[in-house]
């Protein structure tokens, strides 16, 4: 049964020393996760939820406090050096490498940390450079690259040992719309080559929806739900998702949130038009009348009201409670 599991955690727990006197920070709490071969798995969760902590433990960079984590059946604590040969990690927003070296030189350097023979490394690097469209910057020093191109270099580095399990921590951070889309296609194509697994974190719901075979939603170190995006949408929201446009914005958001039966609420303000859009996940439709009177009490006018198709964002909001922004 364990054979096709790429990543597995069993009651994984991780504590960090907190501020003196305030006790430990529980970054991960009883996390049980199973990710299979050929799967792109997405981790969603608010800032500080524990996503990076989980990735670091799986990458052998951090020890679990309790519980167990396995990559291809190997324990991350006991078999770290074996695991390191078959994994790689790309963190968005970080730019490892040497600024004074060119793109090509940096990639060559990282390929050597995996002991790739010279010609083999050369071939693989030129392939990666093509895939990530870095050709024009081959001889440019890393320090002179723009943020997006640095991130492409970082991604190319992640593929340099053709890992069996690739960890992507917010990989599209800082990429423009087209580059991000390009990267998503690249990862999806790569996973089709077979025998690969990707675990990624992102704050972009649409990205997770589009890319991931399954997503896990994590908050305060606990995995709240874990399934395919489609099933999560029907399961969690039950279809009762509403969109209400009001003006002016609510002065007391809390009073709306505290209405019994409101599972999730997020707001987006359009500064130009002065219209605020509320997205709501409700337990029952009957709550709507309470809600509307509360909005009127607040002195806001309802411009538009309608049911909306549940999105992954709605799932997220109903589980985590507040909007991402």
């Amino acid at each position: 049964m364990k054979r096709d599991l790429s990543i597995e955690t069993k009651s994984l727990r991780r504590l960090f020393k907190g501020i003196p006197g305030k006790g430990d920070v529980v970054a991960l709490d009883q996390v049980d996760l199973e990710v299979h071969d050929d799967e792109i798995f997405g981790l969603l969760g608010p800032n500080g939820a524990g996503k990076t902590t989980l990735i670091k433990i799986l990458c052998t960079l951090l020890l679990p406090t309790e519980g167990q984590a396995l990559i291809k059946g190997m324990d991350v604590v006991k078999r770290a050096s074996q695991i390191r040969r078959i994994i790689n990690l790309v963190s968005g927003g970080e730019t490892p490498g040497y600024g004074i070296l060119s793109v090509k030189e940096n990639l060559w350097f990282f390929s050597q940390l995996y002991g790739l023979p010279r010609d083999f490394a050369k071939d693989r690097i030129s392939k990666l450079v093509d895939q990530l469209e870095l050709q024009d910057y081959l001889n440019t020093r890393m320090s002179k690259l723009s943020t997006g191109y640095k991130q492409r270099l970082n991604l190319a580095r992640g593929f340099v040992n053709d890992p069996a399990v690739l960890f992507l921590d917010e990989p599209t951070l800082g990429l423009d719309v087209l580059s991000a889309r390009h990267l998503r296609t690249l990862v999806k194509d790569w996973i089709r080559t077979g025998g690969k697994t990707v675990l990624l974190t992102t704050h972009y719901m649409a990205e997770a929806d589009q890319m991931c075979d399954r997503v896990g939603i994590i908050n305060r170190g606990k995995v709240l739900a874990c399934d395919t995006p489609q099933r999560l949408k029907t399961k969690v929201t039950g279809g009762a998702t509403w969109k209400i446009e009001i003006t002016p914005s609510l002065s007391e958001l809390e009073s709306v949130k505290s209405i019994p039966g409101v599972i999730g609420l997020s707001t987006t303000d359009n500064i130009e038009t002065g219209v605020t859009t509320l997205k709501l996940v409700l337990e029952e439709e009957s709550i709507m009348s309470d809600l509307l009177s509360k909005i009127r009490e607040n002195g806001s006018k309802v411009l538009n009201l309608g049911k909306s198709e549940p999105t992954l964002e709605d799932v997220y909001i109903s589980l985590v409670g507040t909007g991402m922004e």
Binding site: G73, M74, L89, P96, L113, Y114, G115
Partner: protein, 279 residues
Amino acid sequence: MMLPKATPREELLTNLRAAYARMWVRLRGSNREVTGLVAEIGLPILTIGAYVILYRAIGLPPTAGAAVIIGGAMIAFWTNVLWNMSSQWFWERESGNLEMYLVAPVSRMSVLLGMAMGGSVNTSIRALGIVLLGIFVFQVPFQLADPLSVGLVFVLTLVALYTMGMLFASIFMLYGREAWNTASLLQEPVYFLSGAYFPRIYAPVVPFALQAAGSLIPMTIGLDAIRRLAINGEGVAAVWPHILALIACTLILFPLARRALNYMESLGKKEGRLTLRWQ
């Protein structure tokens, strides 16, 4: 799917490749910027030149100048060990590179070895510059009876010195709050105690025992041996104790460095201190 373990041969090859690449990066990086090259080679020469002129002006024998030239050449290695070896993990952590080394299947030792090789090649060029300056510009007298021993002592000194650098690297990473300050703290006293800039043999401002004990670095031992060999024209018989001491240093420091590195890594993994930032 269980993965086969890498064979010892594969593992060795990977580590050698990594060490070579790290050396290459070090050489490539530091020799690319002209200002860096000038600062590394040009500026120390000025300091040493000043000492040579000073000693000549106050009427010390020309061998005093020779002692300073050798001192300057050797101290360059100590500076390199401090600023590039010891503080290496610290800077790598700051730049986010440390994680990339740690997720890779290579020994941290081989990365440090590459760094040491790159550093010592670079510094040797600088040291050679200083010696040539002494010979051709200041015409200081060298008296070499046993060049082979000079080579031997030189290599042994470097090995011991860079092994010490490896040991410092792990200590610096976790405890050097500001690697900058820690390095400075170790730099100036050693400059003084090792007697590198004094014409030691003729004017023992700092006695050797105090130098060796005070600076506690292999460089002081190597420096004294090379001065005896290259200025006094003594033979290998005069520097046996030095050679043994240098070998002993390496034999003690190497396992210590290994343990410190492992300790640093597991402590870092336990306390989450391997990265400065987290997302």
